[in-house]
C-alpha cells in the first residue's frame, strides 16, 4: 500500500511533474520545430541568393517604399550591380549594408538595424510579449489559487445563528446524519 503510494507520488495529481509535463513537452516540440526550420536541410545560399536577399533590404533611393530588388530606377540598378560585385569580392552582408548606410544614411535600409534608436523596433515587440505573458501567468495563477466560491456575510450570519441554536439545545432533536438539519420531522 505504502509502496504503491510511493510509486505513484511522482505522477500524482498535485506533483510538479504532472503539472509541468505537458508544458515541458510543448516546449520541446516548439524548440525542435524551430531548430529544424532554422538549421534544417537548407543548402548554403548561392551568390544570387545573397544578392537578392541583400537587395530586398536596401531601399531604392528615389522610390517610395520599394527595395532595390523590385525597382528598375537607374540608382537601384547600379546598387544591385554593386551589391553583386561586393558579394563576389567576399564582403559580408553587414559590410555591404554599412557601406550604403555611410553613403545614404540609415533610411536606406528597409530592415532597421539593431543598434541605436532603431533597436527599439526589435526590442519593443519582444518586451511587450514578455510583459503580456508574465501578466497572464500571474493572473492565471491567482485565479487558480482563489476558491471558486466564498461565503457571503449572509451565509456567515446563518451559520452563526445555527451554532447559537445548537448551544441552546434546540439541536438535540436533530439527527446527526441529517445534513439538511431537518431532523425527525422528515
Amino acid at each position: 500500500m505504502s509502496s504503491g503510494r510511493t510509486n505513484s507520488s511522482a505522477f500524482s495529481s498535485g506533483s510538479p511533474l504532472r503539472r509541468l509535463g505537458p508544458w515541458l513537452l510543448l516546449g520541446v516540440v516548439i524548440v525542435a520545430t524551430l531548430s529544424l526550420a532554422v538549421f534544417g536541410t537548407r543548402d548554403a545560399p548561392t551568390t544570387q541568393d545573397r544578392v537578392s536577399s541583400i537587395s530586398r533590404t536596401v531601399k531604392c533611393p528615389v522610390c517610395s517604399g520599394e527595395s532595390v530588388a523590385e525597382s528598375n530606377a537607374p540608382a537601384s540598378q547600379e546598387i544591385r550591380r554593386d551589391i553583386a560585385l561586393r558579394v563576389q569580392e567576399g564582403q559580408t552582408d553587414d559590410e555591404i549594408r554599412s557601406y550604403y548606410v555611410a553613403r545614404y544614411g540609415e533610411a536606406i535600409l528597409l530592415t532597421p538595424s539593431a543598434s541605436g534608436i532603431n533597436a527599439l523596433v526589435w526590442i519593443l515587440p519582444v518586451a511587450a510579449l514578455a510583459v503580456a505573458l508574465a501578466g497572464l501567468a500571474i493572473v492565471f495563477r491567482r485565479w487558480s489559487t482563489e476558491p471558486a466560491e466564498t461565503a457571503s456575510p449572509e451565509d456567515r450570519r446563518l451559520v452563526e445563528a445555527a451554532l447559537r441554536g445548537d448551544e441552546t439545545g434546540s439541536s438535540e432533536l436533530a439527527d446527526p446524519t441529517d445534513g439538511h438539519g431537518e431532523g425527525d420531522s422528515r
Binding site: 555611410a102 553613403r103 523596433v121 511587450a128 482563489e146
Partner: protein
C-alpha cells in the same frame, strides 16, 4: 475579515491585469509611433557633404587618365550625368561656361557617367565637338555610389583641402558654382590642400 482579504486579492488580480494591459498598450503605441516616424518615404540623399571626397580615377574620353588625388590643392567639381537625362544635357552649357571662365585657374571639372554606356557618351560628345573638361564614360557605378548618388544630374564641390563642401541635387549653373567657391574661401584657398 477573510472576505475582505479575498475581495482584495481579486481586486489585486484585476489591477495587475489592467496594469499589464496598460504597459503592453504603451509598448505597442511606442512601437507604432517608432515605425511611423522612421520615415519610409523620407527622401534619401547623399551624406557626403562635409566628408572627405572619396578618391577615384578613370580613363577619360580623350584616353588620358583623371585621378582626383592628383588635384589636391585645387577646386574640383565632380559632376555625375547621363546622356538619357534631359536635365544633364541642359546643364552642359553652364559647365562649359564655368570651365571657360576659370581657364588657367586652380579649378577643375570632371564629369562621371552614371548608369550609361560609354558608346552613347562618345556619340553624344562627338556631336558637340567634344567636351572641354575630362569626362569618365565608363564608371561601373562605384564612383557614383561612393558619392551617394540618387539620380542625375548631381554635382559635388571638392575644396582644395579634399573636403566636399557642397552638393547640387539637380543641374548646376556657372554662377551657382562660383558662389559656392567664393563662400568657401575662393581661389585663396587653392594650394592649401597640397
Amino acid at each position: 475579515m477573510t472576505s475582505s482579504r479575498e475581495t482584495g486579492a481579486r481586486r489585486g488580480g484585476s489591477n495587475l491585469a489592467r496594469n499589464a494591459a496598460i504597459v503592453v498598450g504603451i509598448f505597442l503605441v511606442g512601437f507604432i509611433a517608432l515605425l511611423a516616424t522612421r520615415g519610409a518615404n523620407t527622401p534619401i540623399s547623399s551624406r557626403i557633404v562635409g566628408q572627405a571626397a572619396p578618391n577615384f580615377s578613370g580613363e577619360t574620353l580623350d584616353g588620358s587618365r583623371f585621378d582626383l588625388a592628383m588635384h589636391r590643392g585645387e577646386w574640383v567639381i565632380v559632376n555625375f550625368f547621363a546622356t538619357w537625362c534631359t536635365e544633364c544635357r541642359l546643364e552642359d552649357p553652364q559647365i562649359s561656361q564655368f570651365v571657360a571662365s576659370h581657364e588657367g585657374e586652380p579649378v577643375k571639372v570632371v564629369s562621371v557617367a552614371f548608369s550609361d554606356d560609354a558608346e552613347s557618351i562618345r556619340t553624344y560628345f562627338a556631336g558637340r565637338q567634344g567636351a572641354s573638361w575630362p569626362v569618365i564614360p565608363s564608371d561601373t557605378g562605384r564612383i557614383a555610389l561612393d558619392y551617394g548618388i540618387t539620380k542625375v544630374p548631381e554635382s559635388y564641390v571638392v575644396a582644395p583641402s579634399g573636403l566636399v563642401v557642397a552638393g547640387f541635387f539637380g543641374g548646376v549653373t556657372a554662377s551657382g558654382l562660383d558662389e559656392v567657391i567664393n563662400e568657401n574661401g575662393g581661389m585663396a584657398m587653392a594650394g592649401s590642400g597640397s
